[in-house]
């Protein structure tokens, strides 16, 4: 092929008008820079906001909900099978929050290949006692190690050492809001009363801040054993099994399956937090739209410059054709010019975009709601960089396509005769 020759000619034409070419390339550079910085920043924020809720939400949660029994006695009667039965004043049954046969379920989940990890949990309603005031709240019994691994529990501990929850008996990590109300510091002992009236003193070993203030005002954490003791339950008692899956998207189907097998309620993350993924989706959509609009604008710049170049280089095109270059050779030359502008501008854009991301990453960003965040979050996913360069090539190709086609159709006779 003649590619080397064509590239050579394209390069010479490009260099002959290097100022214009540079302006075109800067247009692409600017849009790719903004594209990368915008997507990196937006996705950084998305990850952060998702992390607030989604990271801490199990993909599938097994629990027993207090609800009316779907199998009412009338359904068992042969006399009333044919019709539609209306029953009034049904009350919820049970009140048994414990997951039946929890040990066996945990064992079964551990060998399921779809499951990344499991963390049992006990939810309990309590009153924190501070002098004469009782503050309503909740203490969750958790397995600190599993919770840290799967749901980033450690990241939200502002003071104290999370492992103390396991190592120190009768210990508690208070929510920041709870600690402020109780005026409790690490090492203090707080009194906790259960709904059944049992009271237990617990030693404060840490404080956590989730970023959701209302949550921090009621929630505290203790070890599973401590909560079992608090509630006066045996050591097989768990109310929730939190499951993290290898593939988040399978959660709804897995949840249905588990609900059937384990005869418990199962809630998947999509149902529990659908509004969060919608928010992320919209933000991503906006950043992509802005990035693509920027690129299209740059594309018009390239289109103009190539069009102008073709008018200026009519003679050159005519002479190339007269001396034996075909229309497709000419088209390749101009597409080559467009793509070189796109590639050069795009690569520079990636570098500048990365630099801009690094700068954004250094800007301080302190908010009480987000304890672990000190600077603006930025996502450096290589995906954005690949999309950026592919898109810069794609738009410049489109921008070059029509001028190049026009150049390929120039009739040399008209140019040569017209002089």
């Amino acid at each position: 092929m003649n590619l080397k020759l064509i590239a050579d000619i394209a390069k010479s034409l490009l260099m002959a008008r290097w100022r214009q070419s540079l302006v075109a390339a800067i247009g692409v550079t600017f849009s790719i820079t903004m594209f990368i910085a915008l997507l990196g920043f937006m996705n950084g924020l998305n990850d952060l906001l998702d992390g607030l809720i989604l990271n801490r939400t199990p993909h599938v949660r097994l629990f027993n909900e207090i609800k009316p029994n779907p199998n009412q006695p009338i359904n068992l009667s042969n006399d009333f099978q044919g019709g539609h039965n209306f029953i009034q004043s049904i009350k919820s049954s049970g009140g048994r929050l414990e997951i039946h046969n929890g040990g066996a379920i945990l064992a079964a989940l551990k060998v399921d290949p779809r499951v990344l990890g499991i963390s049992p949990k006990i939810s309990s309603q309590v009153l924190y006692n501070s002098g004469t005031i009782d503050i309503t709240g909740a203490v969750s019994g958790i397995d600190v190690i599993a919770e840290s691994e799967l749901f980033f529990f450690k990241d939200y501990i502002r003071e104290g050492e999370p492992l103390d929850l396991k190592n120190v008996s009768n210990s508690i990590i208070l929510g920041k809001g709870v600690a402020e109300k109780l005026l409790a510091e690490i090492g203090d002992v707080v009194q906790v009363t259960t709904s059944k009236g049992d009271r237990l003193p617990l030693k404060v070993v840490g404080k956590f801040q989730s970023g959701i203030a209302d949550f921090d005002k009621v929630q505290s954490f203790a070890s599973i054993a401590t909560v079992q003791k608090l509630l006066g339950k045996p050591n097989t008692y768990v109310t929730d099994i939190q499951i993290k899956l290898k593939d988040l998207n399978t959660a709804p189907s897995v949840a249905k399956e588990y609900a059937k097998i384990f005869q418990a309620d199962a809630e998947d993350i999509q149902t529990a937090n659908s509004q969060f993924s919608t928010g992320s989706f919209v933000r991503t959509l906006i950043s992509y739209s802005v990035g693509i609009v920027l690129l299209i604008v740059a594309g018009f710049g390239i289109y103009n410059i190539l069009n102008m170049m073709i008018y200026e280089k009519m003679d050159t095109i005519a002479i190339l054709k007269a001396t034996g270059f075909s229309g497709s050779d000419v088209r390749k030359i101009f597409l080559g010019i467009a793509l070189s502008i796109g590639l050069l501008g795009g690569l520079l854009g990636l570098v500048f975009g990365f630099s801009l991301s690094l700068i954004i990453d250094q800007i301080p960003f302190n908010t009480a709601a987000l304890p672990t965040i000190k600077t603006y979050p930025v996502n450096y996913n290589p995906k954005f960089y690949i999309i950026g360069i592919v898109f810069s090539l794609f738009t410049t190709y489109l921008a070059g396509f029509f001028p190049a086609r026009k150049a390929s159709k120039i009739d040399p006779v008209i140019i040569i005769r017209g002089k």
């Binding site: 000619i9 050159t316 007269a322 034996g324």
Partner: protein, 226 residues
């Protein structure tokens, strides 16, 4: 009897916009290997139009054109480009060098396109041609730094690079002064006599035409003397 290089039989052409104006009427002639032919006629008699048809650049005509025995009708645009590249050398009135390139590269381009020789060989051959025309010292200058006469000689070197069957010229001396015209004419003459190069030159310069082997005179789209 020498080989026929180019044969035109009953070529007709009309401009159809806005009204049908016939510009070429029944043009039939042939050019043999080694001939130095000039086409003359008054301005507007159709001689340039004829040349563009003969050069395969204009495909909108009736009649048959054969180059090297092959019929040009029905060939695709890229096949015609290939024929121009390989078999026809061009010299235009306005030299038409590419200003982005050096003189040497200008001469080399059609050779590089043909890919009959390696790049080094094409370069060597280009230098040889420049030497023959006495302008080898200009090889590394940019095309726009040359004088008109020099440019035209470079254009001739470029026309020669692929050893074409025929060199076609469209008023190659039309834009040059007497001295440079003579130089260009002498080069053509030398090419014809020493290298048996076939030449077909359109000109309205009578003194130029009179010195060629054969004059085809045109008037109002017809050949009036051959």
């Amino acid at each position: 009897m020498a080989k026929t290089v180019l044969q035109s039989s009953n070529i007709n052409k009309s401009f159809k916009d806005p009204i049908v104006v016939p510009v070429l009427k029944d043009i039939s002639f042939s050019v043999d290997q080694g001939e130095f032919v000039s086409v003359t006629g008054k301005s507007g008699c159709g001689k340039s139009t004829l040349l563009y048809i003969l050069s395969t650049m204009d495909t909108d005509y009736e009649g048959d054109l054969r180059i090297d025995g092959n019929l040009m009708r029905g060939k695709t645009e890229s096949e015609l480009a290939r024929i121009r590249n390989e078999k026809i050398g061009f010299v235009f009135q306005f030299h038409y060098l590419l200003n982005e390139f050096t003189v040497l590269k200008n001469v080399m381009l059609p050779g590089l396109k043909l890919q009959k020789y390696s790049e080094a060989e094409v370069e060597h051959r280009a230098m040889e041609h420049l030497k023959t025309l006495g302008i080898e010292t200009l090889a590394l200058k940019k095309a726009n730094q040359l004088s008109g006469g020099e440019k035209q000689r470079v254009a001739i070197s470029r026309a020669l690079i692929n050893d074409p069957l025929i060199i076609m010229g469209d008023e190659p001396t039309g834009n040059l002064d007497k001295k440079n015209s003579d130089i260009v004419f002498d080069i053509f003459k030398q090419l014809c006599e020493e290298f048996k190069q076939t030449l077909l030159i359109v000109t309205h310069d009578q003194s130029f035409a009179e010195n060629t082997h054969r004059i085809i005179e045109m008037e109002d789209g017809r050949i009036i003397s051959n």
